[in-house]
C-alpha cells in the first residue's frame, strides 16, 4: 500500500462495534482504494480512551474513535445534540440523523479541528435500570443512587430527586452487586456486556431513549491530505452517512442479541409511566434550552434538535 494508516482501538477486541463496524470498514477502505490505502488496527491502544481524539489530532495515531463525552471541554458543544433524551429507538436512523444534522446545522467539522471527520454516530436507546422498585412517580427515584454516563443524565437524575454518581463503566458490576449503587443508565447491550443481568430487576424505557451517547471516527488531517483526491473521495463514500448506517446496524444487532439473552432473565422491562415521563421531559427541556443558549450566535440548537427528532421519528411526550 502507498499509505498505511494506524488505527488505535480502545474497546475490547471482541466488542461488537470493533468486530462488526470498525474492522469491516477498515477492510473496505483497502478494497475501494484498490490497496493503495490500508488500515492497520493496532493490537493495543496507544493511550487512554479519553486521549483518543487528541491522539488523532496530534498524529500519535492516524485514525481513532471515541465518545464526545469522554472529555469535558468547550470543543464538542454541538455533539450534545445527540446525547439528550428522546433521540431515537434505532441506532441506524439516529446515527444517520446525528451525522446529517451535526455536520449541516452545527459545524461538526469545525469542532473536530485538526482531523478529517470520517464518522459520527450514536448507540441504541439508553434505559434506566435499578434493582429496588419500578419508578411509578418521581418520588420513587428519591434516594436511589444511580451511575450516570454524562453530566446531562446526572442532572436528569438529580432533578428527579435521585443521587447521580460517576464512575467508569467497568466499575459498575462491582458497585451494583454490592449495593453501592442501586441503578445505572445503560443500553441493552451494556447490560449483558458488563454482566449485570442478575443485579438489575427493573428497566425503564422511554420513547427514543432516556439518553444516548455520541461518537466520532476521525483521521489525522495531514495524513488524510497525503492521500490522493480520488482515494479520499472513495473513502468518504464509504464513511460519513454510510458508516453511520454500518455502525448503527452493529449497535442494533448487539442490542437485539442482548434482548434475546435477557428474555429469560427476571428483569422487568416497562415503559416510563406518565408522571415520570413528564418530570423527565421538564428536566430535559431545561437542559436543552441551556445548551442551545451556549451555542454560537449563528447556530440554532433547538431547531437542530427538532430536525433530528423529525428524522428519527421520535415524538417528545408533552
Amino acid at each position: 500500500a502507498d499509505v498505511t494508516l494506524a488505527l488505535s482501538s480502545w474497546l475490547p477486541p471482541r466488542h461488537p462495534i470493533v468486530v462488526n463496524a470498525i474492522k469491516p470498514w477498515a477492510k473496505d477502505v483497502e478494497q475501494v482504494t484498490e490497496g493503495r490505502v490500508s488500515i492497520r488496527v493496532l493490537g493495543k491502544p496507544l493511550g487512554s480512551p479519553p486521549a483518543h481524539f487528541d491522539m488523532a489530532r496530534d498524529g500519535v495515531a492516524d485514525i481513532t474513535y471515541g465518545l464526545h463525552s469522554f472529555t469535558q471541554d468547550d470543543r464538542f458543544k454541538g455533539s450534545l445534540l445527540g446525547q439528550f433524551s428522546f433521540i431515537g429507538d434505532d441506532a441506524v436512523t439516529s446515527s444517520k440523523a446525528f451525522w446529517t444534522v451535526y455536520t449541516e446545522d452545527l459545524n461538526a467539522r469545525e469542532e473536530h479541528e485538526g482531523t478529517h471527520l470520517l464518522g459520527l454516530f450514536t448507540h441504541g436507546p439508553g434505559l434506566l435500570h435499578n434493582n429496588k422498585h419500578r419508578l411509578e412517580t418521581p418520588a420513587d427515584v428519591e434516594g436511589l443512587k444511580i451511575r450516570v454516563p454524562s453530566s446531562y443524565v446526572g442532572t436528569l437524575v438529580d432533578d428527579l430527586g435521585g443521587t447521580s454518581l460517576f464512575m467508569s463503566s467497568t466499575e459498575v458490576y462491582e458497585k451494583l452487586s454490592r449495593g453501592v449503587i442501586d441503578g445505572v443508565a445503560f443500553t441493552y447491550e451494556a447490560l449483558t456486556a458488563f454482566n449485570l443481568a442478575d443485579d438489575v430487576k427493573y428497566s425503564m424505557t422511554v420513547p427514543g431513549g432516556v439518553y444516548n451517547t455520541t461518537w466520532f471516527l476521525v483521521v489525522n488531517e495531514d495524513q488524510w491530505n497525503s492521500i490522493s483526491p480520488e482515494d479520499r473521495a472513495a473513502i468518504d463514500a464509504i464513511s460519513g452517512l454510510a458508516f453511520a448506517e454500518r455502525v448503527g446496524q452493529a449497535w442494533n444487532d448487539a442490542d437485539a442479541a442482548a434482548r434475546e439473552e435477557l428474555a429469560d432473565s427476571d428483569i422487568e422491562f416497562y415503559p416510563a409511566p406518565e408522571p415520570v415521563l413528564t418530570a423527565l421531559q421538564a428536566s430535559a427541556r431545561r437542559q436543552e434550552e441551556t445548551w442551545a443558549e451556549s451555542l454560537p450566535e449563528d447556530e440554532d440548537g433547538l431547531a437542530a434538535l427538532t430536525r433530528l427528532r423529525a428524522m428519527t421519528g421520535v415524538t417528545v411526550p408533552q
Binding site: D54, S69, F70, T71, Q72, D73, D74, R75, G143, K145, S150, S151, G154, T163, S164, L165, F166, M167, S168, E171, V180
Partner: protein, 150 residues
C-alpha cells in the same frame, strides 16, 4: 538549604494528599451505609488526588535516590568508572524529566485553550499539568544535585 525546605514542603503536601485520598474512600463508604449519603464526587476526587500525589511525590523519589536502578556492575568495575556511569545516568534522567516538564507545560496550555475540565465536578485540568511540569523540573534538579556532588 533551599532544597531541604522544598523537600519538606513537598513531603507535607504529599502526606496531606495521601490522607485525603484515604479519607475520600472512608467518607464515601461510611456515608453511604450510615446516612445513605455517598460522596457523589468520590470517583473523580480519588483520581484528582492521586494525580496530584504522584506529581508532588516525584521529586522526593529523586531526592532520596529511590528510583529503581540496576547496580550489579558497580561492584565489578573500578570506582572511577562507576562514578562516571552514575553521572551519565543522572544526566539521562534529568533530560527525560525536563522533557516531561516541557510536554506537560504544552499540554497545560492546550487544556487552557480547550477549557478542559473534569467530567462530573468540572475541576479545570490545566493546573494539574502545570503542577506536574514544575515538579518534574524540581525532580530533574534534585537528581542532578545528588549525583553531581563532588
Amino acid at each position: 538549604m533551599t532544597a531541604k525546605r522544598i523537600e519538606n514542603g513537598l513531603m507535607g503536601l504529599a502526606a496531606f494528599l495521601l490522607l485525603a485520598l484515604m479519607a475520600v474512600t472512608g467518607i464515601d463508604v461510611i456515608g453511604r451505609y450510615l446516612f445513605n449519603a455517598p460522596l457523589s464526587g468520590a470517583f473523580e476526587l480519588t483520581e484528582l488526588l492521586l494525580g496530584a500525589l504522584v506529581f508532588v511525590a516525584l521529586p522526593l523519589v529523586s531526592r532520596a535516590g529511590a528510583h529503581v536502578e540496576v547496580d550489579l556492575l558497580v561492584s565489578v568495575v573500578p570506582r572511577a568508572v562507576s562514578r562516571v556511569m552514575g553521572r551519565m545516568a543522572a544526566i539521562v534522567s534529568a533530560v527525560v524529566l525536563a522533557f516531561f516538564a516541557w510536554r506537560l507545560a504544552v499540554l497545560g496550555i492546550t487544556q487552557v485553550t480547550d477549557g478542559a475540565r473534569s467530567v462530573s465536578m468540572g475541576v479545570p485540568l490545566a493546573p494539574f499539568a502545570f503542577l506536574g511540569a514544575l515538579t518534574c523540573l524540581v525532580a530533574a534538579l534534585f537528581g542532578l544535585m545528588r549525583e553531581m556532588r563532588p
